[in-house]
């Protein structure tokens, strides 16, 4: 019996102790009419050898591609030590650290993670993670509405990842919160402060500020942050954590700094893995800490005065406050944060900076090569970080399909999200791409365009 250790003798002895004749008797409180029959869609069990073969065949059928898609999930080198340690049983198979004395490993690691994330974003405090970047943004919107009190409206630039916007709508909709979208500048690809002035007569709980935005373009974060504060709205930053090794962190935006910083933690040592599990991060100013959702770890002392770590400020949480909690979030993404913390310890500040700089340099080099091709053009004039949009002289869907046949994923087709841009793709070359990779891409793109 897979994963069940009981011998026949054990079963007899256990039933005798209970005073039951058969295991079936243990289900005698369930009304017979409710008992189900066979499971028809569940195939017979496989041995580990058989399932290994099946999974390997499927993985090999999917194969590997030279990937230039980013769009919120980025391919970076992950040091071998990251997942070898993260999948140690003591991290992998433990639960939320409710029993602090038996969970000091996870708790200390989370405290280190909070410290790193607060520093990376330039904020005062961080929680112990959210599900992913999109849901972290939704929680930040809810947090802003809770702390603002009079407005239930959020200003959302259309330069924010389209799926993040969609997730925010799904999550906040039922709480009577309006998400008002702001158009972007067709020339620069940015959210212009003057566009915001059209909204200056209205009240908002928060303005969302992406950096870099979905197009890879860098926003006027100082002006946007100051604009939000001048209207008594909170500034919610959505940032790529890797970019924080190079870019001004949200805590230093404008004259007062952003109030909440969220984002997708995946670039920090988490594999692409078809979209998850990743982790969302959330950091904020000290004054907002009691409005934060999710687990927060604090350092304290034990009865002998020794340093130790516990889950703290739990009066915000569902298991204590029930219907009055700041969120229903319970489990977060502990194992992913474990990996990310190890990743950041292995790269250090200089390593992270080099990875970010190389990713950016590779995308710049790629763009330069792409612009030599007939009809391939950079669409926006704004400066960018490690990801950019180019227009193509042929339908993006056909170009990308042709590239795919050469085992190259050439970028994300933007037609679905920004049809006004025409045939355009979002491309990204991280530090994982060599000069030969860039050449390979450009050569095949040229052929694809010529053919179409």
């Amino acid at each position: 019996m897979p994963f069940i250790p009981h011998t026949e003798e054990d079963i007899h002895a256990m039933l005798a102790s209970i005073g039951a004749d058969t295991i079936d008797d243990l289900f005698d409180e369930i009304p017979p009419a409710l008992k189900s029959g066979e499971l028809k869609q569940v195939p017979p069990g496989l041995s580990e050898m058989e399932i290994s073969r099946l999974m390997l065949e499927r993985a090999e059928a999917d194969g590997r591609y030279l990937n230039f898609i980013g769009a919120g999930a980025y391919e970076h080198h992950i040091p071998a030590a990251v997942w070898q340690i993260a999948t140690r049983g003591e991290f992998y198979s433990s639960y939320t650290p409710y029993q602090a004395e038996a969970s000091q490993g996870t708790l200390q690691l989370l405290y280190e993670y909070q410290t790193i994330m607060a520093s990376l974003t330039g904020m005062d405090v961080s929680n112990a993670s959210m599900y992913d970047g999109a849901s972290a943004l939704a929680e930040a919107a809810l947090m802003a509405v809770r702390s603002h009190k009079s407005s239930r409206r959020i200003l959302m630039p259309t330069t924010v990842h389209p799926i993040y916007r969609s997730v925010v709508r799904t999550i906040v909709r039922n709480q009577g919160i309006d998400v008002v979208e702001i158009p972007y500048c067709r020339q620069s690809g940015q959210t212009l402060p003057e566009t915001l002035d059209a909204f200056s007569k209205e009240e908002f709980a928060a303005l969302v500020i992406p950096q870099p935005n979905f197009f890879g373009i860098l926003e006027h974060v100082d002006a946007l942050t100051d604009w939000a504060h001048s209207k008594r709205a909170l500034a919610i930053a959505v940032v790529n954590p890797l970019s924080m090794a190079l870019l001004t962190p949200p805590g230093e935006w404008g004259s007062k700094g952003a109030d909440i910083a969220v984002g997708e933690g995946q670039p920090l040592g988490i594999p692409l893995s078809s979209g998850g599990p990743y982790f969302g991060f959330m950091a904020c100013k000290q004054t907002l800490v009691r409005q934060m959702p999710g687990r927060i770890i604090g350092r304290t002392t034990d009865q002998d005065g020794k340093e130790g770590f516990v889950l703290t400020l739990q009066a915000r949480e569902q298991h204590i406050r029930r219907s009055k909690a700041t969120s229903n979030i319970c489990t977060n993404q502990g194992l992913m944060v474990t990996a990310a913390t190890i990743y950041m310890a292995l790269t250090g500040p200089e390593g992270l900076r080099r990875i970010a700089a190389q990713s950016h340099a590779n995308t710049l080099a790629l763009l330069e090569k792409l612009e030599t091709l007939n009809g391939v053009q950079r669409i926006f004039s704004g400066s960018f970080f490690h990801e950019t949009i180019v227009s193509l002289p042929a339908p993006a869907v056909d170009v990308l399909r042709t590239l795919k046949d050469q085992r190259i994923l050439g970028g994300l087709n933007l037609e679905e999200y920004y049809p006004e841009l025409g045939s355009a793709i979002l491309v990204c070359a991280t530090e994982t791409k060599t000069t030969a990779d860039l050449e390979n891409y450009v050569t095949h793109l040229r052929q694809a365009i010529d053919k179409l």
């Binding site: 009981h6 198979s93 433990s94 280190e112 001004t248 310890a345």
Partner: protein, 487 residues
């Protein structure tokens, strides 16, 4: 010692980042960071040693018996991890075309179909990333259903008082008022209270069955009838699905929507608090509302259904498609178990729980619901012990750590005083359960002979009882470099 205290300026790992520093072109000076972030500067070996040492300060399923009630801490087969981490699966970009992921999508589709069968529901969406998100989606679908019928008077969600805290918190997040109903002496929902609570304002009922009291709600069919008759829908919290896997299908109990905690019943890792994964299943009337994306199999090809093809869907809950890697682990687990293994999960989880309950009762512990069968878990109440010795449930839990066991869930559900919610799970052997009973017996004796010693536990863990009050009153949430006095 914190990783930052191992840090030395200028120390770095040359293998883990580019050898040269690329020039940063095209980014205006005013957008560039002036002071580098405070990341640790340690060697690879120091990082490996530090985090390996930290791991050794954790209790885990791989190292200890972990009878944490309502969390289903069963063995997480290693094959599930290594097969989900095959390089091709890890490298696959979420926005890569479906044609490049047919192997991956086949696993997702088959998992969807298996979960439909196991739960007796008409449709399943794999996207929710945790139990609480599954709940949020479930209640959002109930809301979307009522709205689609222009039934706007339904403003309340009924929740039994024994429910997990996430249930009322979720109902509020979906804009509902929470109505709590009481539990009767036998541990079932009080039917009179339910009848009094339902009406034209009822949007739905959230129920965990078997309940958090460790018993099967005998009147579930009647409850379903009452709520449906009032026009409400039934939500099944799958927290305790392990107890009935392959025995009873939530769909057959009349539930309209359910979530399944893969990190409990389907043995994906708890990871120190996530990632979870909580697919939702729905009855046919809620099918149009399920969250996207959903995998379909047409013309020999697997593909995602997205918003455009599901106009009534409540939408997206994650940037991509949920916790794909967790879903792969669950898929490997269900294939290892097969149909027969699935039935055995509930059988042996129930056998272990009832055996442990019987043995603890014989050892002198008071069972909260002694006339009932345990489901996969049961409750011991130490109210009497506290009155006689001053030793509390918390003290016993901490003393168990000294004996090498993770503690059961304490003080939950809230309505049983001084309680321990104990769930052994099917993967534990009789010897482990017997040894646990022996340790519990020792603690019971210690409570009478040396109560102060028990109250001072734990003694053998890396730290002793921690000061939670201090942690909350003077929050120290991030480490700060101590100021160095320059002489």
């Amino acid at each position: 010692m914190l990783i930052f205290e191992h840090s030395r300026p200028g120390r770095r790992n040359y293998s883990q980042s580019p050898a040269t520093v690329a020039e940063i072109e095209g980014i205006p000076q005013n957008l560039l960071r002036k002071i580098p972030p405070m990341l640790p500067e340690v060697s690879e070996m120091e990082a490996v040693r530090h985090y390996t040492r930290l791991s050794q300060k954790n209790f885990s399923i791989d190292t200890q018996f972990y009878p944490l009630g309502s969390c289903t801490m069963k063995y997480n087969p290693r094959a599930c991890n290594s097969l989900a981490m095959l390089p091709q699966f890890l490298a696959r970009h979420p926005r890569a075309p479906e044609s490049t992921g047919q192997g991956f999508l086949a696993c997702m589709y088959e998992l969807q179909e298996i979960l439909k069968d196991v739960t007796g529901m008409a449709g399943v969406s794999l996207t929710p990333m945790a139990g609480a998100q599954g709940e949020l989606i479930g209640i959002a679908m109930i809301r979307a259903y009522h709205e689609s019928r222009n039934d706007s008077a339904r403003t309340e969600i009924i929740v039994p008082d024994a429910a997990h805290g996430t249930n009322p918190a979720t109902a509020v997040m979906c804009g509902y008022k929470v109505v709590e109903i009481a539990t009767d002496k036998e541990g079932d929902v009080d039917m009179e209270a339910l009848k009094a609570a339902v009406g034209p304002q009822t949007a739905g009922l959230m129920l965990t069955n078997p309940s958090t009291l460790g018993v099967f709600e005998k009147n579930v069919a009647e409850m379903s009838r009452i709520v449906h008759q009032a026009g409400g829908l039934l939500y099944y919290d799958g927290a305790n699905l392990n107890a009935i896997l392959g025995k009873v299908k939530p769909g057959d109990m009349g539930f309209d929507v359910i979530h399944i905690n893969l990190h409990k019943t389907f043995s994906t890792p708890h990871g120190g608090g996530g990632p979870g994964s909580a697919p939702v299943g729905v009855a046919s009337r809620l099918l149009p509302f399920i969250p996207v994306p959903v995998v379909v199999f047409e013309k020999d090809t697997y593909r995602w259904l997205a918003e455009k093809e599901m106009p009534q869907s409540i939408g997206r809950l994650s940037a991509h498609m949920g916790n794909a890697g967790v879903l792969l682990r669950a898929y490997v687990y269900v294939r290892l178990l097969g149909a027969e293994g699935m039935h055995r999960v509930a059988e042996f989880a129930t056998l272990n729980a009832n055996y442990l309950m019987a043995e603890l009762s014989k050892a002198g512990f008071e069972i909260a619901y002694p006339t009932r069968r345990a489901s996969h878990e049961f409750i011991v109440t130490l109210k009497d012990l506290k009155e006689k010795t001053g030793v509390t449930a918390m003290n016993v839990a901490k003393r168990l750590l000294d004996k090498g066991y993770h503690a059961p869930t304490t003080y939950f559900p809230l309505l049983v005083p001084e309680c321990l919610l104990i769930e052994p799970a099917e993967t534990e052997s009789k010897e482990t359960l017997d040894a646990f009973v022996a340790s519990m017996k020792e603690i019971l004796e210690e409570a009478f002979t040396q109560p102060e010693m028990v109250k001072g536990a734990p003694y053998t863990t890396p730290v002793r009882r921690l000061d939670d009050v201090k942690a909350a009153r003077e929050p120290d949430l991030v480490w700060k470099q101590p100021k160095i006095n320059l002489i």
